[in-house]
Every structure is written in C-alpha cells, then in structure tokens.
C-alpha cells in the first residue's frame, strides 16, 4: 500500500508528515514513533523544497519477512548533492539551517539511504521497523 505526496511548495510539507503519521499509526507504531517519523519526513521534505524546489514523498508499508514497518522515499530531480559523505556529517550545513537536516533525520529512523548525483537529483530512503 503506497501513498504519494507531491512536494511543490513548502505548504505541502505538513500534508506529507500528516500522511506519514497516519500510515505509521495504521501499521502499529506508537505515538512517539509516529512523531519521530513525522519529524523525519518534515526534514527530508523541507530539503526538497529548499534545494530542489519540487519533488515527491512516497510512503509505504514494508515487510522483510519477519518485521513490519514503514518506508519513506523522498525524491527530487534537483541539483543533487556533490559530496554525500560531507552532507551526512553531523553539523554540516549549506543552507540557513541548524545543520541537522539529513544527519538528524537519520537518527530518527532505523535505516537510512542517501543516493544523489549532481545534475540528476536526490533520493533519500528511510525505513522504520516496528519493535
């Protein structure tokens, strides 16, 4: 089951995290975990708005056979990140931020993947599993 949210304007961020919270709730995540997830979605969605202008968030339930959880894919076709290792270093920031964005989002979830290439775009994949 999948849900796609277009991110075209900063006002879309709230919608994306509400849907994320909703889906997380259905899957069985606790209220605290729902907030962690909604916060992570807010961060990656905001990254899309700030750096790419537009993109999409895809929410889906996942299972690896034994565990159940939620997957969030934040995708854009923006300028891309030149040095992904640098971007993931805590405290690093190019924009007007607290420097928490991606490294921070990673702390809120169980699995995190960043794929990006200059001129192509960026895809951030987050996964959170039910305990």
């Amino acid at each position: 089951m999948e849900s796609r949210v277009a991110i075209e304007h900063e006002s879309d961020i709230v919608g994306a995290r509400q849907k994320g919270r909703e889906l997380a709730g259905i899957i069985g995540f606790s209220s605290t975990d729902q907030t962690l997830l909604a916060t992570a979605i807010s961060e990656v969605a905001r990254n899309i708005v700030t750096y790419a202008g537009r993109g999409e968030i895809i929410l889906s339930s996942v299972s690896d056979g034994t565990r159940h959880g939620i997957m969030v894919i934040a995708r854009d076709q923006g300028p891309g990140i030149l040095d992904t290792a640098l971007a993931m270093r805590d405290g690093y920031s190019t924009g007007n931020s607290l420097g928490v964005g991606l490294p921070g989002a990673r702390r809120l979830v169980d699995e995190f993947d960043l794929a990006s290439a200059p001129g192509v775009g960026t895809t951030v994949t987050l996964k959170k599993w039910l305990r």
């Binding site: 089951m1 909703e22 259905i26 606790s30 159940h68 039910l130």
Partner: protein, 324 residues
C-alpha cells in the same frame, strides 16, 4: 488516504501486513500458479459450486469432532459467520481471480479464526479433509481421463496452499501483536515514575538498562511530567551498576527533553564506577545536576520547589530555573 475511516478491519489488516498487489503476485509466483492452472480451475467451477453446502458441512463437521476445533462453533453468531465466510470462500476459490479482494476475504476469515482461538493444526487438518472431499468429486468427474483429473486437482491445491500461506501469516501476525502488547505492559510495569509530592517526580532506575528500555523510561517520564505538571524530577541511579555510551547518551537526552518541558532533573546515586564511565565517555558531569545520594537529591528538589512557591515573598538566593 481520505477513505481510512471507512476501511473494514480486513482492509486495515491488509495494509498493516503489507498485502500490496505486488506481494499478492509474489505469493502466486511462489506457489507456481499459472494461466493453465486458472483454466483447469475454471473448468470445474460449476462442479464445485454444485457441492458447496456439502463441502462447508464437511469442514465444520471435522472441526466439531475435535476439542480444539470447537472454539469457532460454541458461539452461535461466530459459527454462522464462519460458515457464511467459508461458503463464500469456496465459491471464490474456483473463480480463478485471486487478487486483493480475494485476500481481504481470506483475511476476514483468518481474523475470525484467530479471535476465536482456533488451533492452527486443527484448521489445517480440516482444510485438508475438505480438499480430499473435493478431490474425490473431481476424480469421479474425470473418471475417463484420470490424468486430467489429477492435474486439475493439483491446480486447485496450488490455490489451497496460497490460502494456507495467507492464513498462517495472519495468525502469526496477530499472535505477535498480542506478544508485543504484553511486552509493552511488562516494560511499563518495570519503569515506574512515582509522584512524591506535588510537582515532584521520582524515577528510580533499577537493574540493567538497555537502549530499548531506556527509551521507554524516557517516554514514560516525559508523559508523567505532563500528567503531574512536575517541575523537578529526581532520577536515582543507585541501582545501576554499569552504563554504556548508548544508555549514557540516552540519559542525557532524557534530561534535555525534560528541560524542554520545563522540568529540572536531579541525578542521584551516581556510583564512582558509573561516574567514571561517564567521564570516559566524554560527558561533562558539571553540566549534570548531580547530588550524592537520594536523600540529598530530595532535599535539593524541595529547595527548588520551595523557592518557586515563595518566590517574590522572600529574597532567597537564586536557585537554577528550568532553562535550556
């Protein structure tokens, strides 16, 4: 997802279990269901439909004969619903359309069995018995072409195993859900937050704490701060023998989070060993509000609270307020 409110329990379960169209197709591939199988099944559709009542009876008679099978039959409305769903299932089983709607149907029946506490072994035995009956009907029908009869029966069996796969997954899923809930209850009982007096909470940490338990403690504490409108929390770690970096970080995070909610945390009972571990981990103990023993900590807490209460009346020396 605006239609969430109108989802049936089976549809909700379908979502929780990740039963996408993709995963359903995967299940079909796993049992090796082909177009030819669907054709063969279509050919016996009317034959099976003609015997629906008989087959349904066979299944439930088998359940009734076993102690472990009775749970589904004791309650009349449950038994009737089960029979109706079984009838619908048998009809759908030979419709050659096994998509998300078919799955939802299976889930509904599986949920019913799960709630009634039907023993999985008994279900499998009854289902097998039912299949045998259908098999006999098919072989009689293909009396003159037994190979075709056999192959038709094998095609139907693929669907049967597809069904079994779903039902077993549901029962396991539901059982795990119960276990998870029980574990949560147990954990909640072992991480008590006590209200000592108005606005003062005591959080005794006892025994070994791992990251998961530490997290539960934090959640419990933060909720208690809100519920009790606590201004001071005395976190007593006298009962903690060792602490690793993950847990230490977690404790720091707990203290920071409590401050965000306007509560000051006083840590008491820090043994020399644990204090040393914290120093080694690079944690600045000076930043923590620590007091040697629990008694001292409680006195400090009362001082803080007392100061709040008489503020403006007496010019007491300024105690730290809840400032981040």
């Amino acid at each position: 997802m605006a239609d969430l409110v109108n989802q049936t329990p089976a549809q909700l379960l379908s979502r929780e279990m990740g039963m996408t169209e993709q995963s359903v197709e995967r299940r079909k591939r796993i049992v090796g269901l082909t177009a030819q199988d669907l054709e063969r099944i279509a050919a016996i559709r009317d034959l099976v439909h003609a015997h629906i009542e008989e087959y349904t009876a066979v299944f439930f008679d088998y359940l009734a004969a076993l102690d472990e099978g009775r749970p589904v039959l004791t309650n009349r409305s449950v038994a009737e619903r089960a029979r109706q769903l079984k009838r619908e299932h048998l009809i759908a089983m030979v419709q050659s359309d096994y998509g998300t709607a078919y799955i939802a149907q299976r889930l509904e029946l599986a949920m019913l069995y799960s709630k009634a506490g039907l023993d999985l072994r008994v279900f499998l035995a009854a289902f097998h018995h039912l299949l045998k009956n259908i098999g006999v009907t098919i072989m009689k029908h293909f009396e003159h072409t037994p190979m075709e009869g056999f192959e038709t029966f094998m095609s139907l069996k693929k669907v049967a195993f597809f069904d079994i796969g779903v039902i077993v997954d549901v029962m396991v899923f539901e059982r795990e859900r119960v276990i998870r809930q029980q574990q949560d209850s147990i954990r909640e009982l072992s991480t008590p937050v006590l209200q000592l007096r108005e606005r003062l909470l005591l959080l005794p940490i006892i025994g070994v704490i791992d990251t998961h338990r530490a997290r539960l403690v934090t959640e419990s504490l933060l909720r208690s701060i809100r519920a009790n409108r606590a201004k001071v929390v005395v976190m007593d770690v006298t009962g903690v023998a060792t602490i690793d970096s993950k847990v230490a970080n977690h404790v720091i995070q707990t203290i920071t989070a409590a401050k965000l909610m306007g509560a000051t945390v006083i840590v008491t009972g820090l043994s020399a060993e644990v204090a040393q571990s914290l120093v080694v981990l690079g944690i600045d103990l000076a930043k923590l509000n620590t007091v040697g023993d629990l008694q001292g900590g409680l006195e400090e807490a009362e001082l803080l609270l007392g100061y709040q209460l008489v503020r403006g009346e007496h010019r007491m020396s300024r105690a730290p307020s809840a400032e981040t």
